[in-house]
Structure formats: structure tokens, C-alpha cells
């Protein structure tokens, strides 16, 4: 499928149909998630605030997913020098940053009633923060290099380094947490993962992912057109 879509013309044709469909699906799933989330019972420990989990956890997971997509695109861009791959990586970055930031903010809101503080150096949250910084670094680097091809390659190299380092960073934060016997609020098992919570969680995650897919395609289309317009402008100036 990837090789089929690698042709920009075919991608444009495909995404013109696929993006709205994904977007509509995402909206439906989000509505379903919100409805099931709203009607789920209160948690005995967290009360009504458990509902924030339905926004926070999927956002955090999607953030990591988007980084994976970014790194994958960057890899194709580096190895095969394919312009569409570069465009895809560039397009994914702001989406990833936004979703990760959403995860951080909702995580903070979710934790506030429990911790009594707006932020706690929990292993997961800290790792998400660093993931957010990776996105920011990637975008900053791309924005600072004037030559676009060079910018794509340099930030691609950074993305590769990041994707190898991110698990290590996460592990180091986990290790640090274990040292301090800190509370892993967001323990691997998560708060009571009963079916009634799983459904809205899963629905919301699906909504985020499909929504990302739709927005990503839209942004890639934008990238393709931007580059074409630029090429035309450069030619016209001669």
C-alpha cells in the first residue's frame, strides 16, 4: 500500500476520498466515546474525574504513535530520498506536538485532584514531556535550516536518533522512579481497567488515531501543494 501511495498523484487522489471518510469516522467514534464515557459509573477512588482518563490516555498513546509515524516517514525519506516521505514527516510533527501537549495538560488536570499538585514527576508523564520536547526540537530544527532538502535530512537524522533514544529515556525515567519509590499513578495496569472503562478508552483512542490519519493526510496534501507552488514561483522568477 505504501508503494502504491508513494506516487504523489495517486496519493492526492486517494486522500481526497480517504481523508473526509476517516474524519467522519473519527467524529462518530469520538461522539460514541464521549457518550459511553459520560454514562460510565464514577470510580470509587477518583470520582467523576476518572473521565479525564478517557481523554488523557488515548492522547498520550496517540502521541507515541505519531512519533512512530514521523520516524518511519523520516526513515523512508532518508533511505529512499522520497519527497513524499519527507513531506509526511514534516506534516506529522505539529500534530504530534499538539496531541502530546494535550496529553500532558489533561494528565495534569487529571492528577490535580489526586496529587494536590499540578505536576508530579511520574515516570509516564515525564516521558511524555520529553516526547513533547523531541517534537519541539524536531520542528525547531526544520524551521531553522533554510534549504528545505537539507532541513528534511537533518531533522530526519534527529528523528532516527530520537526513536532509538526514546525507549531508553523512558526506561531511565522508570528507573529513577523506582529509586525514589515514587507513586506510579499511571501504573502499567492503569486504574481499574474494567470493561466499562475500556470501551470508552478504546473508542476514544480509535477516534484519535483516525482523526490523526485524516488530519495527517490533509497536511500532506497541503505540503505537496506548497512545494509545487514554490517550485512554480522559483521557475517564474527566472
Amino acid at each position: 500500500m505504501i508503494t502504491v501511495l508513494a506516487n504523489p498523484q495517486r496519493f492526492l487522489a486517494f486522500s481526497r476520498v480517504a481523508a473526509p471518510i476517516l474524519g467522519a469516522l473519527a467524529a462518530i467514534l469520538a461522539a460514541a466515546a464521549l457518550w459511553t464515557g459520560w454514562s460510565a459509573p464514577d470510580d470509587y477512588q477518583q470520582g467523576a474525574t476518572v473521565r479525564l482518563m478517557f481523554i488523557h490516555v488515548p492522547a498520550a498513546i496517540t502521541g507515541m504513535l505519531i512519533y512512530g509515524c514521523l520516524a518511519g516517514s523520516a526513515f523512508f525519506g532518508l533511505v529512499f530520498r522520497h519527497l513524499l516521505a519527507d513531506a509526511a514527516a514534516r506534516a506529522a510533527a505539529p500534530l504530534g506536538a499538539a496531541v502530546t501537549l494535550l496529553g500532558l495538560i489533561t494528565g495534569s488536570f487529571w492528577g490535580r485532584p489526586m496529587w494536590g499538585a499540578w505536576w508530579v514527576w511520574d515516570a509516564r508523564l515525564t516521558s511524555y514531556l520529553i516526547l513533547f520536547l523531541f517534537f519541539v526540537g524536531y520542528m525547531a530544527l526544520q524551521a531553522s535550516i533554510d534549504d528545505e532538502t537539507k532541513a528534511d535530512r537533518a531533522s530526519g537524522i534527529l528523528a532516527m536518533v530520537g526513536v532509538i533514544m526514546l525507549p531508553i529515556v523512558h526506561y531511565s525515567v522508570l528507573w529513577w522512579n523506582s529509586l525514589h519509590q515514587g507513586e506510579t499513578i499511571f501504573a502499567p495496569g492503569g486504574p481499574k481497567a474494567s470493561a466499562v472503562y475500556l470501551t470508552p478508552l478504546f473508542l476514544m483512542w480509535a477516534a484519535y488515531s483516525l482523526g490523526f490519519g485524516a488530519l495527517w493526510m490533509v497536511r500532506i496534501r497541503g505540503e505537496i501543494w506548497r512545494r509545487r507552488a514554490q517550485a512554480l514561483a522559483v521557475q517564474g522568477a527566472r
Binding site: I130, G137, S172, W175, L179
Partner: protein
């Protein structure tokens, strides 16, 4: 490897002068270390807890100082072209540069680190481990920093950009090194932290040069 030897000698000489060399890095470290007690009201007990960690932060920041010039000067005056056409591959050139950076900045900072920590109130018993962690961590700082510097070649706003790119990658160094020292302070086993620190530094020593060489070739194209 005659070529590598020639290059290393030169890089050592240049690193000694680069960005003011060890003197500026040490001065920065001193300033940072002075700020903490002044800013936190100076209660000895509190400082004692923070001391090892803060001296690590100061170490990390001081390591950033001369990073921007690591590849930039050669890139700007055409020397990087020459380095790319020499007997040693660009990967080894990157190793030479980062090693020189470590020798000229990392080692002096490592020597100073236990002094800084003790000045901030840490136990003298922590000093040897602080030195060792700073020494090994210094390799990590140099090679991680090198990746950041290489990737930012040709970018505007070099110094701050490199910091933004590189600080997240510095986190494990801070965590493992600081964790090892904190473990010792609490009477726990300090070896895991030190081992992880060494592993991370060695990982970047091994893989970093490939990323740096790729980034240099990109900048030269």
C-alpha cells in the same frame, strides 16, 4: 592511523581554544554553582540534598557552551571539505572532535564537579563517585552534544537550537549519574546507576559518529 593522530592533535589544540576552552566552561560552572545557594536562601540542609543533582545540571549546561563551534567553524571556512577528503572517514573525524571536546572541557569539568558538590554541602564521601560519574558522563555529553551540533550545521540561531535538541537526550545522563550519586548518599547500591550511565555514554560513543557523519555530509551537499 597516522591521519587520525594528526587530526586528533589538531582538534585538541582547537578545543582548548574553542569558545574560551575549559576556562570559560569552568567559570560558567562556578557561576551556576554560586547561584543556587544565593537563590534558595542558603539553608544548609536543603542545599545538601540538592547539591549533587545541581552540580550535574551545571555540568550539563557547561558542556553545551562550546558545542556550537564543534563543526561550525570548519564548515564555514571550508575545512570540513578538506576533512571529508582525507584518509579517515567522516565518522572518525567526528570521533576525534568529540574526544577532543571531552578532553578539553569534559575532564576539567569532571575534576571540578566534586568540588562544586562539596561546596554546595554534599558529603565529601560522595566526591570520588561524583568525579567518576562526571568523567564518564562527560563522554556522553560530548558525543550527544556532537550529534546536536552536527545536525544543526547551517541552521540559524545555533546555540539555543542545539540546547533544545540536545537537552532531552541529556536526561538519561542526568538521571543515571544523579541517581548513582543519590543512591550512594542514601546508602544504596550505586553501581546500577554508574553502569547505566556508562552504557548510555558508550552507546553514543559508538553510534553518535554515524549520525554526525551523515549530518555533516548533508550539510556539505
Amino acid at each position: 592511523m597516522n591521519g587520525f593522530g594528526v587530526l586528533l592533535k589538531r582538534e585538541l589544540a582547537m578545543a582548548w581554544n574553542r569558545g574560551g576552552g575549559p576556562a570559560v566552561a569552568l567559570a560558567f560552572n562556578v557561576c551556576a554553582v554560586t547561584l543556587l545557594p544565593l537563590a534558595s536562601g542558603g539553608s544548609l540542609d536543603k542545599l545538601k540534598l540538592l547539591a549533587p543533582g545541581f552540580s550535574w545540571v551545571a555540568l550539563a549546561l557547561a558542556s553545551l557552551l562550546s558545542l556550537e563551534r564543534l563543526f561550525e567553524r570548519d564548515y564555514e571556512d571550508g575545512a570540513l571539505d578538506l576533512l571529508a577528503l582525507g584518509p579517515a572517514p567522516l565518522e572518525l573525524v567526528a570521533v576525534a572532535k568529540c574526544l577532543a571536546q571531552w578532553v578539553c572541557t569534559g575532564i576539567p569539568l569532571a575534576v571540578f564537579a566534586p568540588i562544586a558538590a562539596t561546596a554546595l554541602g554534599a558529603d565529601l564521601a560522595l566526591a570520588p563517585l561524583t568525579f567518576l560519574c562526571a568523567l564518564i558522563g562527560g563522554i556522553g555529553f560530548a558525543f550527544v552534544g556532537g550529534v546536536g551540533a552536527a545536525v544543526s550545521l547551517g541552521a540559524r540561531a545555533g546555540g539555543v537550537l542545539i540546547a533544545v535538541i540536545v537537552l532531552p537526550l541529556f536526561t538519561p545522563l542526568a538521571i543515571f549519574g544523579g541517581g548513582a550519586i543519590a543512591s550512594l548518599a542514601m546508602g544504596l547500591d550505586w553501581r546500577p546507576g554508574l553502569l547505566f550511565l556508562s552504557a548510555y555514554s558508550l552507546l553514543f560513543l559508538a553510534l553518535g559518529p554515524f549520525a554526525m557523519a551523515m549530518a555533516c555530509r548533508n550539510a556539505l551537499s
